[in-house]
């Protein structure tokens, strides 16, 4: 299924798409990868409202290392991912060890995403604060594209986005088919009973949190490399964290392509509203998401794709 979609996309790119649809698809694929990373935790009841923090770290650490240290993103991104893992452990370990779960976990992570956003704003001398940050263009000192990880052709980005997105789906599948899925399902239902089955609850939760944080940070770094401009509001903070949750809940939290589906729907909606209504209705997409989220949680908790798959399966069975 996923490979078929990827195949169609690649053919479309080869045939040649105009830059605008290509741009939309690249953005959707990068976000879909990030959303998939979030859903790895979310599907096990680990509802993080702090993934904007990991995304911000992925984007800003990579960009800062490039601008101030001249470090190629090929090394900067791994450093950024390591920072995201470190943050995931620093926040996750106490939460998991002392059993901060459910709503309380969501609250802790909510604070986390805001801490990172405020940190970016507070260190404005280096990060540009709310005004945003632009990585030094490769053209300034003739660094090769590949070193700077900056490409002029959208097609190159399109291929990168597809590869990364497919890798995200592969990770999802790997988790889904491993014993850790059973362990995390067990933990999400009853931590005492899971421990009595010999599961190291803290360790298994940390594992999935680290994987999720790495994916989200990578999504942030790629977004930055592609857009070549970031601001605290586009890659961190509560708004981004909630955007991630909206999209995944809409698409379907328990199915492989659910987050991707959510990315397509929410990003297209935002884009259509932006083009059609323009600046008269700034924030309208967020209002619609808010209403949609409430409706989805009440009437369609498995999301659009999840519910469609269910309906299809029961009709067959």
């Amino acid at each position: 299924m996923a490979l078929a979609i990827a195949g169609v996309l690649v053919v479309a790119a080869i045939v040649g798409l105009p830059p605008y649809p290509l741009h939309i698809m690249i953005v959707i694929l990068i976000w879909a990868f990030t959303y998939t990373g979030w859903s790895l935790m979310g599907r096990f009841g680990l509802v993080s409202l702090g993934h904007g923090a990991f995304m911000g770290i992925g984007a800003y650490v990579t960009a800062l290392l490039w601008n101030y240290g001249g470090l190629t993103p090929w090394l900067g991104i791994p450093v950024a991912l390591a920072c995201a893992v470190l943050l995931a452990v620093v926040v996750g370990y106490p939460c998991f060890r002392f059993r901060i779960t459910g709503h309380y976990f969501a609250l802790v992570t909510l604070a986390l995403s805001e801490v990172v956003r405020q940190t970016i704003i507070a260190t404005r001398d280096h990060t540009g604060g709310s005004l945003g940050f632009t990585p030094t263009p490769k053209g300034n000192d003739d660094t090769p594209s590949i070193i700077a990880l900056q490409f002029d052709e959208k097609e190159t980005w399109f291929v990168i986005a597809i590869v990364v997105w497919l890798a995200g789906l592969a990770i999802w599948r790997l988790v889904d088919r491993s014993m850790i899925r059973y362990a995390l399902d067990a933990i999400s239902e009853d931590e005492d009973s899971a421990a009595a089955a010999g599961i190291n609850v803290t360790r298994e939760k940390l594992k999935i949190t680290m994987i999720s944080a790495v994916m989200t940070a990578l999504g942030g770094a790629l977004y930055m490399q592609y857009q070549l401009f970031i601001s605290p509001d586009t890659v961190s903070g509560i708004a981004i964290s909630l955007q991630i949750v909206f999209a995944v809940v809409t698409g379907g939290i328990f199915v492989q392509l659910g987050p991707t589906f959510g990315a397509v729907i929410t990003l297209l909606l935002a884009e259509i509203l932006r083009v059609q209504i323009g600046t008269d209705a700034v924030g309208l997409d967020n209002a619609i998401y808010g209403i949609a989220l409430v409706l989805f949680i009440i009437f369609l908790p498995k999301g659009i794709l999840g519910s469609l798959i269910d309906r299809f399966a029961t009709r067959r069975g």
Partner: protein
């Protein structure tokens, strides 16, 4: 095998377990009984690592367990069941048991986990197919699943929080026979915690009676059932339990 010395547990000003010491030998089935609130569950939870003792020591095969995390205790070879079954309803019966088989030891392999799960389900008499749901099980079935999960972790000592209260006579007998089989066929040592004497007295080798957090009697079931202190505890606070003990207990050899 298990050596408990001077175990004390206080919750605030309340002493739930007061200076309890006992030993359990390899291959025994030991009953731990007492009326509600006598401290059985507290002792059980300390053995399983749910919470640490206030003071005292618990040594299993020479290793100190006091304060150890529950999953580590499982890895050392102690399995446990819950008084009220706590299955994972999002998983199938087989998956419930397999996850215990996989994580029940520190270095398990996947294939081994699934076969351990099937063996355990076979032994307790539950379906081993991959699709049977937990929701199809009744009270007795859920207790069997609890037992299968504990067995899948391949314990050498089983802590069975059985409390057969919710079962009918036939189901109680079945459960008792099951525990005996587990001891005989798998060589697993068992500590059976229960608040009614009933069927337990016919199965265990030795029984320990708790009251107000203290061990008031210990020995062979026949002797303990005639112990005046035990009779007082059970007659004083639950004539039903005591008369049942007399009816079904030590009088009828197993």
């Amino acid at each position: 095998m298990l050596k408990v010395a001077n175990l004390v547990k206080r919750f605030g000003g309340f002493t739930a377990v007061n200076d309890v010491s006992f030993e359990v030998d390899q291959g025994e089935i030991v009953g731990l009984i007492g009326p509600n609130g006598s401290g059985k569950s507290t002792i059980f939870n300390m053995l399983a690592g749910t919470f640490p003792p206030t003071s005292g020591s618990i040594r299993f095969e020479g290793r100190e367990l006091a304060g150890m995390m529950p999953h580590r205790i499982i890895h050392l070879g102690i399995g446990r069941t819950f008084q009220i079954p706590r299955p994972f309803r999002r998983l199938s019966i087989l998956e419930n048991t397999a996850v215990a088989g996989f994580y029940g030891q520190s270095h398990a392999d996947r294939a081994g986990a699934w076969s351990a799960a099937r063996d355990a389900l076979d032994l307790v008499g539950l379906p081993t197919d991959p699709d049977s749901r937990v929701d199809t099980l009744g009270a007795a079935g859920l207790k069997k699943l609890e037992l299968a999960k504990a067995l899948a972790t391949r314990p050498r000592l089983l802590l069975a929080d059985e409390s057969l209260g919710g079962l009918d006579d036939a189901e109680m007998d079945q459960a008792a026979v099951m525990l005996r089989r587990i001891r005989e066929e798998m060589g697993i040592t068992i500590i059976w915690v229960e608040h009614i004497m009933g069927v337990l007295m016919r199965v265990v080798d030795r029984v320990m009676v708790l009251d107000h957090g203290e061990l008031i009697a210990e020995g062979a079931p026949s002797g303990v059932a005639r112990d005046p202190k035990v009779i007082e505890v059970y007659l004083g606070r639950g004539a039903d339990d005591a008369s049942e003990a007399a009816r079904r207990g030590a009088g009828q050899p197993a």
